[in-house]
Amino acid sequence: MKNLKLKAARASFDMSQQELADKVGVSRQTINAIEKGDYNPTINLCIAICKALNKTLDELFWAE
């Protein structure tokens, strides 16, 4: 399932996939895979992404 919330949050900061990837210490392709729903990140990576985007886990990763 695509993670549109993550994509929207990143876009709201005008941040590219590469910039977010550099901030959380992963490759651009990993961010791309998470946004496309091809990869389910570990809780550690979810937390790192939330901190980078100033969001909570619920806001980015809780499926409604």
Binding site: V26, S27, N44
Partner: protein
Amino acid sequence: MKKKTGVIIGLLIAAAVVFMIMAVAVPKHSFRTNFNPVITVENGKAAPEFLQSVMEIGKGGRYVITADWYENEMPGFMTGFSMTDEAGNVIYSIAGGRLKFDSMPMDLAGGRYVCRFDYLCSEADYKAYAQAHQISAETGELGGLFRDGAFEMHYVLKIYESDRWKDIAVIACGLVLGLILAAIILMLARKSDAKTTHYDERQIAVQGKSYKLGFFTMIAYAVLMMAFSSYVGELAEIGVLLLIGIILGAAVTITGLILQDAYFRLDENRRFYGAFFIVITVFNLGMGIVNIIRGNAAMNGKISFTGTANLLLGILSGYVVLLLLIKYIRDKKEETA
């Protein structure tokens, strides 16, 4: 001077030292010659009657003579091979219709040696040659073997120094040199002076799947080889068969790793590796083609490891270059989308 530059210079000096040890302290002498004549036999006479080559052995030592004229079909004559020193003493001789042999190690003094191939077109010629050269001749009915015709022959003659300690020293130096060069390449490929390089969690997960696929590919290949061992064992040396298995396993693993972006660490310079693999491909394919042209691809009637290893590795590195190119195009499309 940056720390990285200092380490690279240190490694280059170490590589130069090891290379000098390998080249100067443990030289290994070998001499080789090829003939591809067409021998015409008419009324029991061969034309030409013999071929010969002079080998100059610069330094005396312990040598092994290997020769190969193992044709697909038995020619209509026997070939007698003899090696004669400067004083005219025959130091080695053997005869056979189609033959591949390795002599026992023998002490050879430095000097010129005449290596001669005589074409023996009748049973009487063959037995006379065997008697003159003190070779135990084939017994039994040989009459049907000798016949007229034109026969394309391929002779490979090699004389190489046989010294176990030198072999071990060269292999050890080669390994050390390989490790040093690998360290230099790893240093050059890093984008920064960062002390740690790492894969992210998705890359590690992809690696697990890719290595598993590569492992099962190698198992499947090994099972197939066991099933057809009697057939494939005749076609190629064991080293070639093992190398093909390794290359297949590596190719399957690398395909998953590169296409899913799990091959390079986060701070590695992909363009550097791309250029590096292109150089490796060109070098190995070039060496492979040279080996084929020189007739080294087959020895003793089988595909030889030393003659084809470069070609096989060149194909693998060429495949890596192709995958990197596909991945680069895919990434560019993804970034612009």
